[in-house]
């Protein structure tokens, strides 16, 4: 291993890691918004909303994220959507992971015993109240861990935006592999940084999960 070279280039990787972190955080936020809306649509009483929700999940999960990103970034201008690479990355990845989060959130909600909703309705709560005060607080605890799995996948998924030239960790690694011909060294630096990001996130989610336990 060429340690000298690694010491020389690592500041660029740190900068790139910061971009990866920004991408991850923004994508998580957008993903949670899309996921909540998607789950609400899929559980709605209105048939049309259920169909829209199911179509969203099916199309997004049935095609590669890379293609979705390309449609948005390269195809967008043809239909009047002009985005820079970073914006396209956040929106493309956020809408993509949102479809997976839709299923996670929906899964947690339907996992709550039916008797809970029935009991709440019997006590005179409206459908909204029973969801808001009885079902969701319980479901929220159930979804922390599986959403953590989604977020873990999302962090690794941010590497895709290298293909539309966002200067994040993978793009930086690729560029330095090309200019230094030292693939293992570059992989090592970026790999360690990815693993630190994923490890810290994982610990955070485990902490949240522990705090949310009732017993």
């Amino acid at each position: 291993m060429d340690v000298e070279l690694m010491l020389k280039v690592y500041p660029f990787f740190l900068k790139a890691a910061w971009v990866t972190i920004q991408l991850s955080v923004l994508t998580t936020i957008l993903g949670l918004i899309c996921g909540s809306l998607g789950a609400a649509a899929r559980l709605s009483r209105l048939r049309i909303l259920r169909i829209v929700g199911a179509a969203y999940v099916s199309f997004i999960r049935g095609t590669p994220a890379l293609i979705q990103l390309f449609i948005l970034y390269f195809g967008g201008p043809q239909v009047g959507i002009q985005l820079d690479a970073f914006e396209a990355g956040v929106i493309g990845l956020g809408v993509n992971i949102g479809a997976y989060m839709t299923e996670t959130i929906r899964g947690a909600i339907i996992a709550i015993d039916k008797g809970q909703a029935e009991a709440a309705r019997t006590l005179g709560m409206s459908r909204y109240q029973s969801m808001r005060y009885v079902i969701l607080p319980q479901a929220a605890r159930l979804m922390i861990r599986p959403l953590g799995v989604n977020i873990n996948a999302l962090i690794k998924g941010t590497a895709l935006v290298a293909a539309i030239s966002v200067i994040e960790l993978t793009y930086t690694a690729q560029r330095y592999i090309g200019s230094t011909y030292k693939p293992f060294e570059m992989f090592f630096i970026s790999g360690v940084l990815y693993m630190i990001i994923i490890y810290v996130t994982g610990r955070g989610i485990a902490w949240l999960d522990r705090r949310a336990r009732i017993v």
Binding site: F59, P64, I67, F187, Y194, M195, I198
Partner: protein
């Protein structure tokens, strides 16, 4: 610029050829990841410590970094140590290894969940440890995790789009080729998405059949 889907028929055969390559690379990588996953699981659980520990580190590294980065490492790294593989082979190895690690995690859990009595009974009948693993324990374990392995294979199909960046002319790269000639990214990426969706549906159908067969064999 607007949309004009009438350019598609002229390049349809190029994109369809790409779809065929996508199916080929997916099937090859899926087989590698399935059998690789079994081998990895056995190594992770039963190999001597000096093999097991470095191997665990390798698994950890593969699960903690993006596939795209691994593809770059394999494609450029192998060249550096003097192995010049065609992009297709590098793509199959990269995808196959990546998903083999994920499959291995599933299979490890399943092996540990197989009743201990199975191993003991097999040993009592005179099978060696290796034979007992191969003929008794592993087949039962693998059968239990066919559905989640199937999910990994669906993910593999979609991630096969990534090998376009190392120059494998599969569906995504074929679409890019057509775009280079026509400057119509929206139309051709949507076309590629439609093809992926169809392949995905086909693959789900095949996986369901396999699952049913495995269930029936129990």
């Amino acid at each position: 610029m607007g949309l004009d889907f009438s350019v598609i028929p002229k390049y349809l055969d190029v994109v369809m050829m790409g779809a065929v390559w996508t199916v080929a690379i997916t099937v090859a990588a899926a087989l590698l990841s399935f059998f690789g996953g079994i081998v990895f699981a056995v190594i992770a659980l039963y190999a001597p410590k000096f093999v097991r520990l470095p191997f665990r580190a390798f698994e950890w590294l593969f699960m903690g970094t993006p596939l795209l980065l691994q593809l770059f490492l394999i494609y450029f790294g192998l060249v550096q140590i003097g192995i010049d593989l065609p992009a297709f082979v590098a793509g199959v190895i990269g995808l196959g290894l990546h998903f083999a690690v994920y499959n291995s995690e599933l299979i490890q859990t399943a092996i540990l969940a197989v009743d201990k009595g199975q191993m003991e009974a097999a040993r009592t009948l005179g099978l060696s440890r290796g034979q007992a693993l191969k003929k008794v324990v592993v087949p039962q374990a693998v059968r239990d995790v066919i559905p989640p392995i199937g999910n990994n294979m669906i993910a593999l199909l979609k991630d096969s789009a990534l090998v376009s960046v190392i120059g494998v002319s599969e569906l995504t790269l074929s679409a890019q080729l057509a775009i280079g000639r026509t400057y119509r990214p929206f139309e051709f990426y949507v076309l590629a998405a439609v093809f992926y969706y169809i392949i995905n549906l086909g693959m789900e159908a095949v996986l369901r059949r396999i699952e049913r067969k495995v269930q029936a064999a129990r």
